[in-house]
């Protein structure tokens, strides 16, 4: 037994004895024979895939020998094993490029979280009470299998449903195929900050239903409409890497960056010019810029004719978008619009980005199409320094012939609203068994959607999540997944590189708890169900399925691997597979199609006189949509603008605050037509006077010891307005009123906001 490992087990970070020799006699733990022999104190590096967001960054895991407390055969003991110590970006990986964002760095705590579920659980208390009793895996799986057999007997196959967090690659396919083979509909995905509007707009404009990749490192001018692309949106690590190059990577050239948004985000704080705009009018501003360029002959209308032609009035030079008219609508001065337009036209290559709140209005689709048109005018589509689409490199499970169906397993998702209606019995078929995988709609869906009530009507809910959260406390059975470090992982990023990328990684460490990979559990259930389900899923394990899927990649596209066997080896070595060659993706782009799109003005919930403020929830730097709120590192990460820790806040403009009699830290009540909440006020000059903003992420009713009952959840205020084109929630379309309630508590890391005269760096 070595000293350091001893320390880890017996002193737990410094409590108890300072004696490093010989364990305390009163606590003799059994020591199990190690499964692997590692050099103590020497690190090995293993590839993995970050599960933190949809960017799909490849990571390297620093693995060192450690003493883990485990339970083996019902006995509590210690075993020497390789344990993950730190995550770094995988330098070979085209998305992360050896770098990692704060959430990625903290993802290691997902594995070691003290409240992680370590074995299957069966509900004993009332739903939502969080009272469970442990169960062994055989019993747990057979419980579920019985349920499914019962459906089978009653020919009620369609009443099985699955709700997952956004998944890609083989895991998504396995779930989809399982449902399909069982005879149920496709799985549903729930995501609060969905980018589906943009995907659909891109499909319309460019024929690609995909998020774009921006070649910022070669751009000279970047204008972003609401996209927090350096913080939380799309592929922040890849985008930040390119941003650094744009600013200082080229001798003598420094790209200019303009951010258009009503509340200064972390990304907006980096802009050379920050342009506050009325919420929902971003598209109008984009077309206003296009108008000036077309009008002054700074750009030719023909360059983006096909994409632009989607906009009503394009061929006439967008007469409705003269700067004065745009000023009236957006609040941005006409002179400023003209100036921005001439800068954009002069500093090529220039690129426009849209993401986040502008898409989350009822006119989100229009905003996206408008920005796409602006890109077309700028001639940035598919060009160096512009926007492009990442070549797709989907790994797909090979088709298996079965008697019932040969349909593609890549079936589209079932919309979440449809699933909701099914659960509530509004539309058929109802839901009798719900498989829940890390989606947390109870937390992240508006109250008006009545998710809680809908879940209550589902007779049997199975969760595969690793934590008890707001939604999984409704589960009757919990079959906890491995953490991403303990399991095989795969992902297929859709954006962030100009190479095709598939991320695949072997487990970096052995499981700490008695958990099982969800993919393996599904395969096991399929096996036990037998029949067409097991025929459709013939693989023994997730690893088998992955190996089979990797066969599908084009081996020739990579320089290092010539055969599919080589690809499998390569994949395991480097944590995935990606093409070497740069692909020109513009040629792949299909032309725009469809009827022209009229200007759409945003619709807001709530009367302007009763609810005078626009309410802007935004993904927080630490928690994204709240799914990382249980990580103590993230809780104690000072928000970079507010520097707040361990809580929520309401951002208010100083003038507004003065008018409302609110000062920093006061408890304010924010009320919408949907409900009300209380949170401390943060007076910030970086927000428009008619907007109040709140970070999403806190306010979990149940989410481990670190996040439960902490702060307020702004989603609870959201009106159930949707963007009509995609059906996704228009989360920026709610109006609220604000009133002072008393003294609140705001834990800030920073003391002062303003630099003292003369500055601090000299």
């Amino acid at each position: 037994m070595d000293r350091r490992n001893f320390l880890k087990t017996s002193t737990v970070g410094g409590a108890a004895a300072a004696l490093s020799s010989c364990g305390h006699p009163e606590a003799p733990l059994v020591r199990f024979l190690p499964d692997e022999e590692l050099v103590p104190g020497v690190a090995t590096w293993k590839p993995s895939v970050c599960p933190g967001c949809r960017a799909g960054c490849g990571v390297l895991v620093r693995v060192m020998e450690g003493d883990a407390e485990v339970i083996r055969n019902g006995q509590h003991g210690v075993v020497r094993m390789g344990v993950a110590k730190k995550l770094e970006g995988n330098p070979e990986h085209p998305i992360s490029q050896g770098r990692l964002c704060p959430r990625g760095q903290a993802a290691i705590q997902l594995t070691y979280h003290p409240d992680r579920l370590g074995h299957p659980l069966e509900r004993v208390g009332a739903r939502g009470s969080g009272e469970y009793k442990p169960l062994d895996w055989d019993a747990a799986i057979s419980t579920l299998v019985e349920r499914l057999r019962a459906l089978d007997d009653r020919r009620a196959h369609a009443t099985l449903a699955a709700l997952t967090r956004p998944l890609r690659g083989v895991r998504r396919e396995l779930i989809a195929r399982f449902l399909q083979a069982f005879g149920a509909g496709p799985p549903s995905v729930f995501e609060l900050f969905s980018d589906d509007v943009l995907r659909r707009a891109n499909e319309r404009s460019f024929g690609r239903r995909q998020l774009p990749t921006f070649d910022l490192s070669r751009a000279r001018y970047v204008i972003s409409f609401g996209a927090d692309f350096l913080g939380t949106w799309n592929s922040p690590v890849a985008q930040s890497a390119a941003y650094g190059e744009m600013r200082q990577g080229r001798p003598g050239i420094r790209g200019t960056f303009v951010q258009v948004e009503p509340r200064m985000s972390q990304t907006g704080a980096n802009a050379d010019r920050w342009v506050p705009v009325r919420p929902g009018t971003e598209g109008v501003l984009a077309l206003g810029l296009a108008h000036v360029m077309l009008q002054r002959g700074l750009a030719s209308a023909s360059s983006g004719a096909a994409v632009g032609a989607l906009i009503d009035g394009w061929d006439a030079g967008l007469p409705a978008y003269a700067p004065e008219a745009v000023e009236r609508e957006t609040g941005v001065a006409a002179r400023r619009i003209a100036r921005l337009a001439s800068e954009l036209a002069a500093d090529r290559p220039a690129v426009a980005i849209i993401g986040g709140a502008p898409l989350a209005h009822t006119n989100g689709f229009f905003n996206a199409i408008a920005v796409n048109a602006l890109n077309a005018v700028l001639d940035s589509v598919g060009r160096p320094g512009g926007m492009r689409f990442m070549p797709e490199a989907r790994i797909t499970l090979p088709e298996v012939r079965s008697e019932t169906s040969t349909a593609s397993s890549a079936a589209r998702e079932q919309s979440f609203s449809l699933l909701r209606d099914r659960m509530r019995g509004v539309t058929g078929p109802g839901v009798e068994v719900l498989l829940l995988y890390d989606a947390n709609p109870v937390f992240a869906a508006p109250r008006a959607w009545r998710i809680r009530e809908a879940l209550a009507q589902v007779p049997f809910i199975v969760s595969f999540g690793s934590f008890l959260d707001d939604t999984s406390t409704f589960a009757d059975l919990i079959l906890p997944d491995h953490s991403f470090l303990e399991s095989w992982m795969d992902d297929a990023p859709e954006s962030g590189s100009d190479r095709a990328v598939v991320s695949v990684a072997a487990p970096a460490m052995r499981p700490l708890h008695d958990t099982r990979a969800t993919a393996d559990v599904l395969l096991e259930i399929a096996r036990q169900l037998g029949g067409r389900v097991s025929t459709a899923l013939p693989w023994h394990s997730y690893e088998d399925a992955l190996r089979a899927a990797v066969q599908s990649v084009d081996a020739g596209a990579s320089a290092d691997a010539k055969t599919s066997a080589d690809v499998w080896t390569l994949v395991q070595q480097q944590g995935g597979w990606w093409t070497e060659t740069l692909e020109s993706s513009s040629s792949e782009m299909k032309r725009a199609a469809g009827a022209s799109i009229r200007r759409a003005t945003p619709r807001f919930d709530g009367d302007e006189t009763e609810y005078p403020f626009h309410f802007l929830p935004y993904p927080s730097q630490a928690f994204l949509d709240g799914s990382l709120a249980h990580l103590p590192w993230m809780q104690e990460l000072p928000d970079v603008l507010s520097t707040a820790m361990w809580g929520t806040w309401v951002e208010i403009n100083p003038r507004t605050a003065e008018r409302l009699g609110v000062s920093q830290g006061d408890l304010v009540e924010v009320a919408s037509s949907q409900g009300r909440l209380e949170a401390p006020a943060l007076v910030s000059p970086g927000i428009a006077p008619d907007v109040v903003a709140m970070p999403v992420g806190q306010g979990h009713r149940t989410f481990t010891r670190y996040a439960s009952g902490r702060g307020a959840n702004p989603v609870a205020l959201l009106a159930p307005l949707v963007e009509p084109e995609s059906g996704t929630l228009a989360w920026a379309a709610t109006r609220v009123r604000v009133a002072r309630k008393g003294r609140g508590r705001l834990t800030l890391f920073a003391g002062g906001l303003r630099e003292r005269p003369g500055g601090v760096t000299r």
Binding site: L7, K8, G13, G14, A15, A18, E69, V83, K85, K86, E88, G89, R99, L100, C101, P102, R103, G104, Q105, A106, Q109, Y112, P114, L230, P236, A241, Y243, G244, R247, Q248, R254, M264, Q266, T267, A269, N270, D272, W274, P276, R336, L512, M634, Q635, E636, P638, V640, L641, M645, W646, G647, P654, G686, I687, A688, F749, A750, L753, R754, T761, R762
Partner: protein, 239 residues
Amino acid sequence: MPHRWGMVVDLDRCTGCEACVVACRAENNVPTVGEAEAARGRAIHWIRVERYVDGEFPDVRVKFLPVFCQHCDAAPCEPVCPTYASYHTADGLNAQVYNRCIGTRYCANACPYTVRFFNFFNPVWEKPLHLQLNPDVSVREVGVMEKCTFCVQRIKAAEIAAKAEDRPLRDGEVVPACAQACPSRALVFGDLNDPDSEASRLAGSHRATHLLGELGTQPKVFYLQREGGHDRQDREGDQ
């Protein structure tokens, strides 16, 4: 010639994403203190991204400034320590020797950058979070001061590896956790005595400045000022 470790922070690249903050926490066993203690001003962040706001709506400009121990050559924290817990190493690091610290906290008062952090209580990692602790770095106990070490454990490991191979250290061989994580490559670490190191080259930039340079602490951290700056004329012209 001994090394002279230094860091260059390109403020034009820094986006304020705080990847460095969490990377440092993960690498250096920096404890979380919980809400109550954080509210009392006892949160520990060896590196922090300071933000300063200039102007009023709508002309708001923000400056991000990653601040960590500046490893001053004329460090105010060093002479005041009665027990040599804070001292200057041969390769220019401002070292903090935990076992020698008796907790006078004088160094923290003397530090003009306020980058020294004190363990007001004994930190605890709730099981099994302790499995993540880096065995190459001490776990500090109650009553001792701690701060950025430039990831001295990585420097030592690289030195030992280089010595085993009987070769000098290469530029870029030592990368502190913050610089390694930084997505926009705003942080560059290197030997300032090596004129060819990237850090040396960048430190010679016309944009290079020191934080609180007027205090004469001779920091080994250089800040490359943002370009573009405040374009007041533009704003006046627009409004």
